[in-house]
């Protein structure tokens, strides 16, 4: 809940209007946000998040050859399909007991780095930032735009814009300079991706056991030359984003409450360390902690664990508001993990998906998304973790753990320092991301360009190592394996917008059970069986409204900013359905604010 004490005082009689946004574009299609807004007190009272698409991957994968899993699961997502392939290969490698050659890990990491740079750039600059561009601010907070025109941009020496309003103009859709440049960058970075993984978005050269990418000198120099072409763009993007988000806090006091939730962040780690990873379950803690983005669960600012085995065992898939039949009374597939720890019936290894199409009912079942939660043994709570849109959780977790120490990226003392080399116009630059005070809309957005820089910096290291291996003649990229009769595996990875896990059970050399959990079900989940709302619902519910428009010409920009800050897959479209904007009820509820802190 984001309501502050001061707003609880002096409340006016509520004037509640039903407002909804449907469809919101996201990768598995169809996301809708349904709210009740109190226009008298300018705050969101209630929020439901619903998805209206079912396709059934975990259903139709049963009985298939497990080696096909990466090819199939790529098709879950049309923007981060490669993250699924990679995660699936991680899970399969555990199940088959195969460790790919080091060079294959570098190539995979380079593909993923290009993906992060591409996807975060097109999302932030062409989609998210439209909510902060001149045209949008003019339509929603004209007073703020006037102030932006008078406000000198502090980092103008880096990005070249004089005022904050000049930056906002550069992001105007189709016409703004940065908007157009970002589209071009998104093509160059996708070419980098294709050099490593063959095709975007569904890669062609990724296999369990390694890659088929031909490691030749030009494979890496073609990548490097493209990376260097975008390196200054990245430095500027960080500076522009910082200027605009700092300005928002200043121009709209209280804006930190927009989209603010309790700090409940999950990160499953990214970029394997080829020297450490062996994909065995028993050593997962060691190689998990050696990843170049550190996994971790953060509750109220504290690191609960960065051990992937603990993370794995705490996963719970809940129903409560979703269109499925429960599986809790069935035979479990996996009663104990390979170390002998008991595995819960609500764990993905034991889930069975049985769809039951039905009417949408906000009092009952209202979504095709289930509710993933993480059981915290310390507090006994089932936590509705969010991913902070990906980068926020990744940077937070890496900074808190302080384990990453490389030539270009170092994490220590609650910070992540990222060094980017000299580019065409800008000198070598070290950026510093610090753990913020809040887990809110602006910080989710701010983390994104920093993570673009992070991915670019790590790519430089992977390139150096890969070229070194190549030049020494070590060019093996694939290792053969046998599919065992019976086995289990799990893969942990970061899709662009956050946590991604794949859980696999093999029987008779076939898939007996397979459950992929991408970030969007975590973020977009509906209320679970305990009534706990999902992160979108929680972040929007109770948030203040700063937009100057009233119910009749309301655009909902503050709500759109919040939902988009989580990076709902194929983003852009928080499409507003005004529900005719009719006033539903005028409730006089003087005690409303009292228990609302």
């Amino acid at each position: 809940m984001t309501t502050t004490e001061s707003r609880a005082a002096g409340r006016k009689p509520a004037q509640i209007v039903d407002m909804s946004w449907d469809p919101i574009t996201r990768i598995i299609g169809n996301l809708g946000i349904y709210t009740k807004i109190d226009f008298a007190n300018r705050e969101v009272m209630e929020c439901h998040s619903t998805s209206s698409l079912f396709r059934g991957y975990s259903v139709f994968m049963k009985g298939k050859d497990p080696r096909d899993a990466g090819f199939i699961t790529s098709r879950i997502c049309g923007i981060c399909g490669d993250n699924h392939t990679t995660c699936s290969n991680y899970a399969q490698q555990m199940a088959y007991g195969v460790k790919p050659p080091k060079l294959a890990e570098h190539i995979t990491n380079l593909g993923e780095a290009a993906e992060y740079i591409f996807d975060h750039t097109i999302f932030q600059d062409n989609l998210v930032f439209v909510d902060f561009c001149e045209a949008m601010v003019k339509a929603t907070n004209p007073g703020v735009l006037a102030r932006a025109e008078r406000t000198h941009a502090p980092r103008g020496d880096v990005h070249g814009y004089r005022t904050v309003a000049d930056i906002m103009k550069a992001f105007n859709p189709f016409e703004g300079e940065v908007y157009k440049e970002a589209l071009k960058v998104s093509r160059i970075t996708r070419e980098m991706f294709c050099l490593m993984e063959g095709r975007h978005v569904h890669p062609s050269t990724m296999y369990p056991g390694g890659v088929g990418t031909m490691p030749q000198p030009n494979t890496f120099t073609d990548y490097l030359s493209r990376l260097m072409r975008v390196i200054d763009f990245i430095k500027k993007a960080v500076a522009m984003n910082d200027d605009v988000f700092d300005f928002f806090y200043e121009a709209l006091p209280g804006y930190e409450e927009v989209g603010r939730r309790r700090v409940l962040l999950g990160c499953w780690g990214a970029f394997q360390n080829p020297d450490v990873v062996d994909y065995r379950y028993a050593t997962m803690n060691e190689w998990g902690r050696a990843m170049y983005v550190t996994p971790g669960i953060i509750v109220d600012g504290e690191l609960v664990t960065n051990n992937l085995i603990d993370i794995n065992l705490g996963l719970r898939i809940m129903l409560g508001s979703s269109f499925y039949e429960d599986w809790v009374n069935e035979e479990p597939f996996v009663t104990h993990d390979p170390l002998g720890n008991p595995v819960d019936m609500r764990h993905p290894w034991n889930q069975t998906t049985v769809p039951v199409p039905q009417k949408r009912d906000f009092e009952g079942n209202y979504s095709w998304v289930m509710s993933p939660r993480w059981y915290n043994p310390q507090s006994g709570e089932h936590l509705a973790l969010d991913t902070g849109g990906g980068p926020l959780a990744r940077l937070w977790s890496t900074a808190l753990s302080g384990l990453v120490d490389t030539p270009y990226v170092k994490a220590a003392d609650g910070t992540v320092r990222i060094t980017l080399p000299k580019g065409e116009t800008l000198p070598e630059t070290t950026l510093e991301w610090r753990i913020p005070k809040w887990s809110n809309t602006l910080e989710r957005d701010r983390a994104r360009p920093y993570f673009i820089a992070y991915a670019a910096a790590m790519a430089l290291q992977f390139l150096e190592e890969a070229m070194g291996m190549l030049k020494s003649g070590d060019t093996k990229v694939y290792e053969n394996f046998e599919v065992p009769d019976e086995s289990i595996g799990c893969g942990f990875h970061e899709a662009v917008r956050g946590v991604l896990s794949h859980h696999l059970v093999i029987r008779d050399k076939k898939i007996a059970n397979y459950h992929p959990y991408p970030p969007t079900p975590w973020n977009a989940s509906p209320r679970d069986m305990y009534g706990t709302p999902g992160p979108y619902e929680d972040a929007v519910q109770g948030q203040p409204i700063f937009e100057e428009n009233g119910p009749d010409d309301f655009k909902g920009v503050d709500i759109m900013r919040t939902v988009r800050s989580f990076d709902p897959c194929l983003p852009c479209g928080v499409h507003m359905y005004m529900g005719k904007g009719k006033t539903l009820t005028t409730v006089h509820s003087p005690t409303y604010g009292a228990n609302h802190g």
Partner: protein
Amino acid sequence: MTTQSATTEAKASNGFNEITILWISEGMSCDGDTVSLTAAGQPSIEDVVLGLIPGLPKVNLVNKVLSPSLGGEDFLAPYRAAARGELEPFILVIEGSIPNQNIIEGDGYWTSFGNDPDTGEPQTLNSWIDQLAPRAWAVVAAGTCATFGGIHAMAGNPTGCMGLADYLGWEFKARSGLPVVNVPGCPIQPENFMETLVWVLQHAAGTAPPPPLDHMLRPQWLFGKTVHEGCDRAAYYEQADFAKDYNSPKCQVKVGCWGPVVNCNVPKRGWMAGVGGCPNVGGICIGCTMPSFPDAFMPFMDEPPGGTLSTMLVKPYGAVIRRLRGLTNDVVNHEPKWRHNKRKLTSGYNPYWRA
């Protein structure tokens, strides 16, 4: 191969000066075709929308990603107007497999696009297609899901989904006389899609004849050849020099490549701007453009049936092999029988413990 559109009596069009593209990605898709589209540079979608390509009508693109609209009813307005017959002409682009709503008993839906304004209930994709397809000047299926059903229509699926032509009927004709224009690919190769769209737009402007399509309604110039015919590794094939695993630059037919019988130009063309691809850069061809995708090609990493035979015969090569390949090519150019719009689910899905 027959050229369906050429034999169709395309209505002599004097050409439109302006046309709207209504794009719906609320089929069962991953939205990867929309994402792929933004990778095209020859031409780019901005070029088309900003009028930089000569010979096209003015294009109003309505697509969630690229729409400058605020969204919601404002965003849906052109779709609603088109459904009422108040917006003409328009090209309907569908992305994603089409679910079979007929197998649902009672309430519920597999996928929807906005809400029905009268009832407030989710408006199904199927109801949109029913309203819009008969009024569309042309109908384009973007990606293998929309063309033939694709990954979500594989054996054992619970939704009974299918391709657009299965849903509308393969004899469906849009107002222009064009059948559904199928651009397969999982996802679409960016330039393949843009070229097709440009040709359809030129046809709409009256500056080009209808695009030539094959019997599966695919653009002939893009899908008329096999993967193999454009593959960098074909010389190894010819010398019967085969890769034994994925470490090798040689022909991959023994480690799962279906190139010899798959219709697709990606190895020749690369993935974007000539970069990437499939067998040419170390990825086996899994037949993602084909009507029988994915079932006929799985398990993907095994040698295709007939691969041994055809590679043994590679030396006395010639007419025999062409005929054998022709047979396999025929097989993989057919959709599985469970893709239909009837009341029964025949995909083999069996929620074993519920029945």
